[in-house]
C-alpha cells in the first residue's frame, strides 16, 4: 500500500500545480478551497471510484457531487488527469466564453461532471436523490458528495442530512471539508456551528474524522464507510485551506484571490519542491 500512497501523493502534487496554473492563467478562480480537497479527489478518482472516462454516463458508475462548486478547478484537474478530457483544456479555456470548463461545474458541458453545482447547500440533496435512485433500482453504485464547512451554514444541508437517514441511504458518503475558513472569516466567527461531528451524529449518520490530507487515514476511512450499512456515512476531513503553499495556508484572503506573477512563481516553486 505504501507505494500506492506515494503514487497518490505524487498525483496530488501534480494536481495542485495544475490548479495553480489554470487559476493563474484564467486570472480568476478559487484556490484555497481547491487545495484543501485535492487528496480526497485523488483518493476518489484514482483509487475508490468505479468510473470509466470513456463512458462518463455509464449508469452503473459511482457518482461524485461537488456541492462546494466554487472549487471546480480541483475537480476539473482531477477529471483531466483521470482521462475524461484533454489536459490542454485546463489551461486554454477555463472561465472563458464557449468553454467546457465553466466557473462552476456544469454537467452538460464537462465530461465526467455528474451534477451541476455552484449555489451552496444544494449538492447534498442532489447526491441523496442519486443514492435513492440506486436503492429504488437495486444498483450497487456509491454516491460521493463533498460539502464545505462554510456551506454547512445552509439550512438545506440539514434537510438533506435528515432525509438521507430516513431513506436509509447507506450508498451515500459525504466528505466535509473542515478547513475552518469561509469567504469572510474563520467559520467560527461567521456562524459558529459548534461541534460539527456531533451534529451529524445527532442526525443519525455514521461519522468518521480523519486528516483530509493523509491517504493513510483517508482511504481506510472511505473503505469503512463503503462497508457501513443502514445509514449514510460522513467523513469529516480536517484540512488546511490553501494546503501546500505556505503563504496561502489558513489565510482567508486566498478563498478567491488570484495570485500575481511573483506569488504564482513562489507558489509553484513551493509546490514542486
Amino acid at each position: 500500500m505504501q507505494r500506492e500512497y506515494d503514487k497518490y501523493r505524487k498525483i496530488a502534487r501534480e494536481l495542485r500545480v495544475s490548479v495553480l496554473d489554470m487559476v493563474y492563467k484564467a486570472r480568476s478562480g478559487h484556490l484555497g478551497g481547491a487545495f484543501s480537497i485535492i487528496e480526497v479527489l485523488t483518493a476518489l478518482y484514482f483509487h475508490e471510484m468505479r468510473v470509466n472516462p470513456k463512458e462518463p454516463h455509464d449508469p452503473e458508475r459511482d457518482r461524485f457531487v461537488l456541492s462546494k462548486g466554487h472549487t471546480a478547478p480541483a475537480l476539473y484537474v482531477t477529471l483531466a488527469y483521470a482521462g475524461f478530457f484533454p489536459k490542454e483544456r485546463l489551461f486554454d479555456s477555463f472561465r472563458s466564453v464557449d468553454s467546457i470548463l465553466q466557473g462552476h461545474p456544469d454537467m452538460k458541458k464537462t465530461p465526467g461532471i455528474d451534477m451541476t453545482s455552484g449555489s451552496l447547500g444544494i449538492g447534498l440533496s442532489n447526491a441523496a436523490g442519486m443514492a435513492l435512485s440506486g436503492k429504488i433500482r437495486g444498483k450497487d453504485y456509491t454516491v460521493y458528495c463533498m460539502v464545505g464547512d462554510g456551506e454547512l451554514d445552509e439550512g438545506q444541508i440539514w434537510e438533506a442530512a435528515a432525509t438521507a437517514v430516513c431513506q436509509g441511504l447507506d450508498n451515500l458518503i459525504v466528505f466535509v471539508d473542515l478547513n475552518g475558513l469561509q469567504n469572510d472569516d474563520l467559520t467560527c466567527n461567521v456562524k459558529n456551528l459548534g461541534d460539527i461531528p456531533a451534529k451529524w451524529r445527532a442526525f443519525g449518520w455514521d461519522v468518521t474524522e480523519v486528516d483530509g490530507h493523509c491517504f493513510e487515514t483517508l482511504i481506510p476511512a472511505i473503505d469503512l464507510a463503503k462497508r457501513h450499512k443502514g445509514s449514510p456515512s460522513v467523513i469529516i476531513c480536517n484540512t488546511v485551506k490553501g494546503k501546500g503553499v505556505s503563504f496561502m495556508e489558513n489565510e482567508v484572503v486566498w478563498h478567491g484571490k488570484t495570485p500575481n506573477e511573483a506569488e504564482y512563481k513562489a507558489a509553484r516553486e513551493e509546490l514542486l519542491r
Binding site: M115, S119, S125, G129, I136, Q156, E159, A162
Partner: protein
Amino acid sequence: MIRSFRDALRDSLMALVETNKDFVVLNADSARVLNLDIFKATYPDRIFCYGISEADMLSAAAGLSTTGIVPIVVGFSMFVTEKPFEQIRQSICYPNLNVKIIATHAGLCVGQDGATHQTLEDLTVMRSLPNMKVFVAADAAQTTAAIQAMMAYKGPCYLRLGRDTAQDLYESQPEFRIGGSDLLRDGGDVTLAACGLMVDQSLQAAELLAAEGIQATVLNLYSVKPLDEQMLLAQAQKTGALVTVEDHTVLGGLGGAVAETLARYLPTPIEFVGTQDTFGESGTQDELFQKYGLTAIHIANAARRAVARKATRT
C-alpha cells in the same frame, strides 16, 4: 359536471403506473391533502415523502432524474414553485433535467387560507426560467391530458392546477400539445385569451357579450410557455382586440406572454384581467373573484374596453 383537480391528478398518477415504469412521486407532507392516500397505499415504492423540506425535495428530484428516473413533484403551488425557486433554477432548469412539477392550490381560488397560500406569481417566475415549460389545466379532463403530454416530453415542466373543482369544459379527454391551445368559441369582435379556471369565466363572458351583439372568440391558452403564437396571432388579426384572463397577477404571466408576442409581431389593443399588482386575502373563491375582478362580468367589461380602443385606433 363539476370535478376535482386533485381527483384528476390522483387518477392520472394511478393510471400512469400502467404505462410508465420510471416515475416516482415526491411530496412534502402533502399526500393526504392531495388525495394521494390510495396511491401511497397501492404503490408505496413509488411515492416518497420529504417531510416539510421543499428545497431538499426539488434538489433530490434533480439528482433522481440524472439517473433516468422521472420524478413528479406534487404539492401546493407556493411550496413547489416559489419556495424552492432557486433549486428549480440551479438544479433542474439549468441542467435541463427531466423533472415534472404539478401544483394544486394556485391563485385566488385557494380561498380562505389567504394571501400566503395564494400563488399569484408562479406563472411569471416559472416561465422566466430557460428550459421550463409551463401549462395550466382548465378542468379535470385537461389535467389528465396535460400530465400525459408532460410525461411524453423530456425536460422540466410545470403544471398549474386549481385548489378545488372545475366545471367540465371538455366532454372527453382533449388533445394536449406543448405549445398548443384550444379555440373554444369563435367570434369576430374580440379575443378572450384565458387559462385555468378563467376559461370557464371567459365562456360565460362571451355569452354576456353576445347578448349585446359583441362576438367573442374564447381561446384556452393552456400552454403558457411555449405559447401558441400562431393561433394567438391569427385570432388577434381576426378580432383586432384582446383580453387576457388569468387567476394570477397581470405582471408577466399569461398576459405578459401574450403582450410580448403581440408587441413583437402584431401590436393590438389588450386589456389584462388578473390581480393588479396586489396580494390576495382570505375569502371564498367566489368572493375573491368578485373583489379582485375575475368574474365573467369583469371580463365582459374589459372586452368592451378593448373593442372601444380598437375603434379609436389611428
